[in-house]
């Protein structure tokens, strides 16, 4: 074998090794993300199912703040199913086809979830205000202690989400100027723009929202209407269990 041939072979090997190294790096990064994700421990009687984010908000007909995932109603992603990561709540399934589903992110203006502050157990309703904007916590009573930096977790009172899932962190809490309630701003815990993998939280069979979700799978209902229905839904005591969720470190 001549020097030129040997040189070409070695160059080829280096190219292959570089490609292999890049691929390994990508796999390592994915492994780290998935290990973090597996640290999430679902509430008792709920179980999780991994999902990959296929695409974010895209195109002129994408009116909602949403992502598409690679799970559909064939694998249990019925409308209403919460989507979480190890950091906290990301959104919930809005519309499901057989093998893909559209997830409404918690930054969407139609998104609502009942929350309580972690320390003071002050209740409120978290509402999205649009992409890259702070979340609002509404209906927080004026004299209740809410501190910046405090974690907001789901209260489970809306019947759509299990109790105790971290959702957001309080940025500011000020007395309301025009209403009796406090003006509380919060930031989501999950980096929604860069989320690649997540977990669907599949509720137990007796979960009250599950029947509605099954009906929704047959005939999708817009989120604003579903919220109205969920508010009136009764939540039997004892069906909600607080999960052992890993809390993000305090800032």
């Amino acid at each position: 074998m001549g020097v030129a041939e040997e040189n070409a072979r070695l160059r080829d090997e280096v190219r292959r090794a570089e490609y292999s190294l890049a691929s390994m790096r990508e796999e390592k990064a994915e492994l780290t993300r998935l290990r973090d994700l597996m640290a999430f421990s679902p509430p008792e009687t709920w179980h999780t199912m991994g999902a990959r984010v296929l695409t974010g908000r895209f195109g002129p007909a994408a009116a909602l703040e949403s992502v598409m995932i690679n799970r559909g109603f064939a694998s249990g992603a019925a409308p209403g199913t919460p989507l979480v990561t190890h950091q906290g709540l990301a959104g919930r399934v809005f519309r499901a086809s057989a093998h893909t589903a559209t997830v409404l992110l918690l930054t969407d203006r139609a998104f609502r979830v009942a929350v309580v502050t972690e320390k003071g157990r002050v209740p409120g309703v978290l509402a999205g205000t649009g992409a890259r904007a702070n979340l609002e916590v509404r209906y927080v009573a004026p004299n209740m202690p809410v501190e910046p930096g405090e974690l907001l977790v789901t209260s489970g009172l809306d019947g759509d989400f299990p109790k105790g899932v971290p959702v957001a962190r309080v940025i500011s809490a000020e007395p309301g100027n025009e209403t009796l309630f406090q003006q509380v701003q919060a930031a989501p815990l999950v980096p929604l723009d860069t989320m690649e993998e997540a977990l669907l939280l599949i509720p137990p069979a007796e979960w009250p929202g599950r029947q509605a979700a099954r009906a929704d799978a047959r005939e999708p209902v817009p989120p604003v209407l579903r919220q109205g229905a969920a508010k009136g839904a009764a939540v039997p005591s004892g069906t909600v269990n607080q999960g052992t969720l890993r809390r993000p470190a305090a800032r």
């Binding site: 695409t55 974010g56 908000r57 895209f58 195109g59 002129p60 007909a61 994408a62 009116a63 909602l64 949403s66 598409m68 809005f94 519309r95 559209t102 969407d108 203006r109 139609a110 205000t129 649009g130 992409a131 817009p222 989120p223 604003v224 209407l225």
Partner: protein
């Protein structure tokens, strides 16, 4: 290797569509295919316009949250406005594209508001207005860039422009 004008034309459309997808990825809510369809209307090749419109429709309708039909109305309005504009304006000029862009912005806002209202969705009106404005402002420069690169790459002699 020398490609025939037909192959070069198809290649140009393919590259444009890929770039438009990238624009839509970084600017959510924007339709970056519109300048290509305006260009296709100006080239007066009905089959070319038809298959291009079909591809755009499948992509836009498939990736959206709204009920099926908004894209058909929007692209239908584009062709209709172009045809009507032909009666009154020189359709190959920038002035006509500016007018068309403005008209399409209004059509887009109207279609979105109708679909959002029919589906009982909550979408911030300000965001809709912003995205519509960005699209209105984006169409003319994108169309200009597309026209120049297409002329250079395909070297049409019978495109009617």
């Amino acid at each position: 290797m020398t490609l025939s004008p037909a192959y070069r034309s198809v290649l140009w459309w393919a590259v444009y569509l890929c770039l438009a997808l990238w624009v839509q990825k970084i600017l959510p809510g924007i339709d970056a295919f519109t300048p290509a369809l305006i260009l296709a209307c100006q080239e007066k090749h009905p089959w070319q316009l038809l298959w291009l419109m079909l591809i755009c429709l499948l992509i836009q309708e498939g990736t959206g949250n709204l009920a099926f039909g908004g894209g058909i109305l929007y692209y239908g309005a584009l062709v209709a406005m172009f045809r009507i504009g032909q009666l009154f304006f020189v359709t190959s000029g920038l002035f006509f594209v500016l007018l068309l862009s403005l008209g399409l912005g209004l059509v887009r806002a109207g279609i979105l508001l109708t679909f959002i209202s029919l589906q009982s969705l909550a979408v911030p009106p300000l965001r809709l207005a912003e995205e519509t404005l960005v699209q209105v402002l984006l169409i003319p420069p994108l169309w200009g860039a597309a026209l120049l690169t297409r002329r250079w790459f395909v070297r049409h002699e019978d495109d009617g422009i």
